[in-house]
């Protein structure tokens, strides 16, 4: 039990690192140089707002008791009634809420007022994510996706990736495309940041997936069974997370090489994320072969899916839909084929002699996640559109979100030309003093 507790401390910090800074760098590198700070800030501000909200009502909505969609939001407000020795489990779940919200930002890069995003975050967290976490992770008997439908989702294929992916799709439709897209060149401005972010996401994902273990018995009741599950299940989820990701890199690169002639670094980074997304729900359910299959299918499928936005005229700027929605659905549904009864769910999928029961449950789980998140996100998106408004002025957007939203530039590549600190902030300086050459 001590070992498990220490492991959760580390796992939780790892998952927070996935947003701050891994996802922020992953997205920031893909955005344009004039809006990279804004892209990074969308993740950082999500961490700040969602984290505090999670302690306020999020944990209570998820874990205070029964409910089809959510539990009593006020029973455990500000963690009143939660033992401090259980705080780490609250913090662990908090980091999931944070990254789910931050994931959405990639679909609406470069064009959204910072104030609109700040308004969207609490609305979406409370109305969409906190209920979804209850439906999937708390797994009370009456919770919709886990309890009633019985869909397997080890670490958030539905609650995190499908949820964020469909929300990204809805926002991209409501908010519309960037000025000049797709005619203007909007290629990634710094793929080294993106590669670094992808690598850090992979590292953090071990906290995400392996830390999502749920025990069948308490250590006090049955120490042997507890430890046996801890050893075997963490080994399984760690190995599956690793191998699916490796297979997805290869799957993505093969498709790229065949379709476009080159295996790209952005393809490798994207393959990493696609594989991690797809194995997230399945990490405990499948064996090594299943993990490899899910990884390679997801990598190849997402490599094709990121091209759909051009056919649809949808400016999902950084491919949140193509990677998280498509990858999340792939992983969640493929459990229905590759699940093994030796795994955490104890259910055989179609390819393991278990019939179609698992597949049906998985598909239903996907549909509920898409439906719930899609409808509520649309309501929030339209509410913001017709009140505060989502879009920056065109001039601000073209000039860059960094300058217009934050008053900063990410890169100063031309030193020695122009400007100085304004005299009003330098002690003793006089305004616009002509250079007389005198040493004062």
């Amino acid at each position: 039990m001590d070992g498990y507790y220490a492991f959760m401390l580390v796992a939780t910090a790892f998952v927070l690192m996935m947003t701050v800074p891994a996802l922020a760098l992953f997205y920031g590198g893909m955005s344009r140089s004039k809006s990279v700070l804004n892209m990074i800030m969308m993740s950082f501000i999500a961490a700040a707002i969602v984290g505090i909200l999670y302690v306020a009502v999020g944990w209570s909505m998820g874990w205070s008791g029964n409910g089809t969609f959510f539990a009593d939001p006020f029973a455990l407000v500000m963690l009143n009634g939660v033992e401090t020795s259980d705080y780490i489990y609250v913090m662990f779940q908090m980091t999931f809420a944070i990254i789910t919200v931050a994931l959405i930002s990639g679909a609406i890069a470069d064009r959204v007022k910072f104030s609109a995003w700040v308004l969207f975050i609490p609305l979406w967290a409370v109305l969409v994510y906190f209920p979804m976490a209850h439906m999937v992770f708390s797994c009370t008997d009456d919770s919709l996706i886990c309890g009633r439908i019985g869909a397997q989702d080890y670490a958030g294929g539905t609650a995190v990736h499908i949820n964020a992916g469909i929300a990204a799709l809805v926002l991209a439709v409501v908010i519309g495309k960037r000025v000049g897209w797709p005619k203007d060149k909007m290629r990634p401005h710094n793929l080294t940041l993106t590669m670094l972010g992808a690598g850090m996401l992979w590292l953090g994902w071990y906290g995400f997936n392996v830390g999502s273990i749920v025990f069948g018995s308490t250590f006090e009741d049955d120490p042997d069974a507890f430890l046996q599950q801890f050893y075997s299940e963490t080994g399984r989820t760690f190995a599956n997370t690793t191998l699916a990701t490796m297979a997805a890199i290869l799957g993505w690169l093969v498709i790229e090489r065949l379709m476009h002639g080159k295996a790209t670094s952005l393809g490798a980074a994207s393959g990493i994320v696609a594989g991690l997304v797809a194995i997230t729900p399945a990490a405990g359910a499948v064996d090594i072969e299943g993990a490899l299959a899910i990884g390679v299918i997801a990598g190849a499928l997402c490599a094709v899916a990121v091209g759909w936005k051009f056919k649809l005229g949808l400016d999902d700027s950084l491919d949140v839909v193509g990677v998280h929605l498509v990858g999340g659905i792939a992983g969640t549904v493929l459990i229905g084929f590759f699940s093994t009864s030796e795994g955490a769910g104890g259910v055989d999928g179609l390819f393991y002699g278990g019939g179609t029961d698992s597949l049906v449950a998985q598909v239903l789980g996907v549909l509920v996640a898409v439906g719930y998140s899609g409808v509520l996100t649309l309501v929030i998106a339209l509410a913001i559109k017709f009140t505060l408004g989502w879009r920056m002025d065109e001039e601000d957007e073209v000039g860059g979100a960094d300058l217009s939203q934050h008053g900063e530039s990410a890169y100063d590549l031309h030193t020695g030309v122009g400007g100085g600190v304004k005299s009003s902030v330098v002690a003793g300086a006089t305004a616009a003093a002509p250079n007389t050459g005198a040493r004062t």
Partner: protein
């Protein structure tokens, strides 16, 4: 005096500079520029989306020389920057009316 302006491939600039120094050129202005000629740009692919990149990065070298040296300088640039492949760049010569060294006020050839 003449202004010799050369737009060349970036990886050839060190060779050009060495050859010009050997010849006796004492200074030059160098900038990173982009543009295109008959070579046109190239295509890059990001997540399956093809981007036509019209502009090709080049180095622009500007040297002011005495009238009699202009042809030699042009020859040196051509000899050292030439790869024979498309995209080697251009060199052109234009007249310069006056040159002044800011530090001393020296004019024309003595300012070079």
């Amino acid at each position: 005096m003449k202004l010799v302006t050369a737009v060349i491939k970036p990886h050839k600039w060190e060779d050009v500079r060495e050859a010009l120094e050997t010849f006796g050129v004492t200074g030059m202005t160098v900038s990173e520029v982009s543009g295109y000629g008959r070579q046109k740009g190239h295509t890059e692919v990001y997540r399956g989306a093809e981007y036509d990149i019209a502009l090709v990065p080049k180095i622009r070298v500007e040297i002011v020389v005495d009238d009699g040296d202009a042809d030699d300088v042009v020859e040196i640039v051509i000899k050292t920057a030439q790869t024979g492949k498309i995209g080697d760049g251009k060199v052109w010569v234009s007249p310069v009316d006056a040159v002044v060294r800011v530090r001393t006020g020296d004019r024309d050839v003595s300012a070079l």
